[in-house]
């Protein structure tokens, strides 16, 4: 009996769901890959008061982003996103905090 993961390989899933981005490990021109870019609204508090802020994460297949590190870049819809930290690494996918 086959399972879902076998029927839907990660590369196919990302091809289907991912946005078109350019990945630049260190210097241009970079490579075109698929990755999921998520814009999430959060609040930054200073005691009682807060400012809303857009937090951006990029989820990519680890194999698509060799050498990714703090300072690597993605270009998504003409906007350059710079990697700040690896939030999740399950050895297949990476979730990256960018700004």
């Amino acid at each position: 009996m086959s399972n879902f993961a076998d029927l839907m390989p990660d590369a196919d899933l990302m091809e289907l769901l991912g946005d078109d981005v350019i990945y630049i490990a260190k210097r241009p021109p970079g490579v075109a890959i698929k990755a999921i870019v998520d814009y999430d609204n959060q609040k930054v508090f200073a005691g009682e008061s807060y400012v809303p802020q857009t937090n951006i994460t990029v989820e990519a297949l680890k194999a698509d982003v060799p050498g990714v590190a703090k300072g690597s870049r993605f270009v998504h819809e003409s906007r350059t996103l710079t990697v700040d930290a690896v939030l999740i690494n399950d050895h297949t996918y990476l979730t990256l905090a960018v700004r």
Binding site: V44, G47, N55, T57, R99
Partner: protein, 147 residues
């Protein structure tokens, strides 16, 4: 009705804090729109008894000065420490009127608490608490004693 001494102190404090930003200082307002401008919000805290003298009520309250801004190129700790110095200078510096127009007996900077950006964020926050002592005529919160 006239403003209480406490209210007049808060107004003077807010007015002075305006020097810290080029957008209006908020008073007990929790939020502003996402912005690159330095956001300053002032919070007056609990008022409590601080003793008495003949015909006078001595009182004390805290004033919170909350600031949120976007990190520029430098280290966030350096920026926060620079702002701590700026706040001290602007609010209670050696050339300022620490009586706020004869209303305040003493003002102390009690604490400065910076918080640094999360991963993927540029937002730095700083919460500064001042402790203010003031005096009114006994049972008359609208009138400061004449010295």
């Amino acid at each position: 009705m006239a403003d209480t001494i406490r209210e007049r102190i808060i107004q003077a404090f807010v007015q002075r804090a305006a020097k810290l930003t080029n957008v209006p200082v908020k008073r007990v307002e929790r939020s502003t729109a996402e912005s690159k401008q330095r956001f300053v919000s002032v919070w007056d805290l609990a008022d409590q008894d601080a003793g008495s003298a003949f015909g006078q009520d001595k009182r004390q309250f805290g004033m919170g000065l909350e600031v949120i801004w976007q990190q520029t190129a430098t280290n966030p700790s350096i920026e926060a420490n620079a702002l701590m110095g700026e706040i001290t200078t602007v609010m209670i510096g050696s050339t300022t009127d620490k009586t706020f127009g004869g209303l305040v007996n003493s003002i102390r900077l009690t604490s400065s608490s910076p918080n640094y950006p999360d991963d993927g964020s540029n937002a730095i926050t700083l919460t500064v608490i001042f402790t203010i002592n003031y005096t009114t005529l006994a049972g008359d919160p609208y009138t400061a004693p004449a010295y």
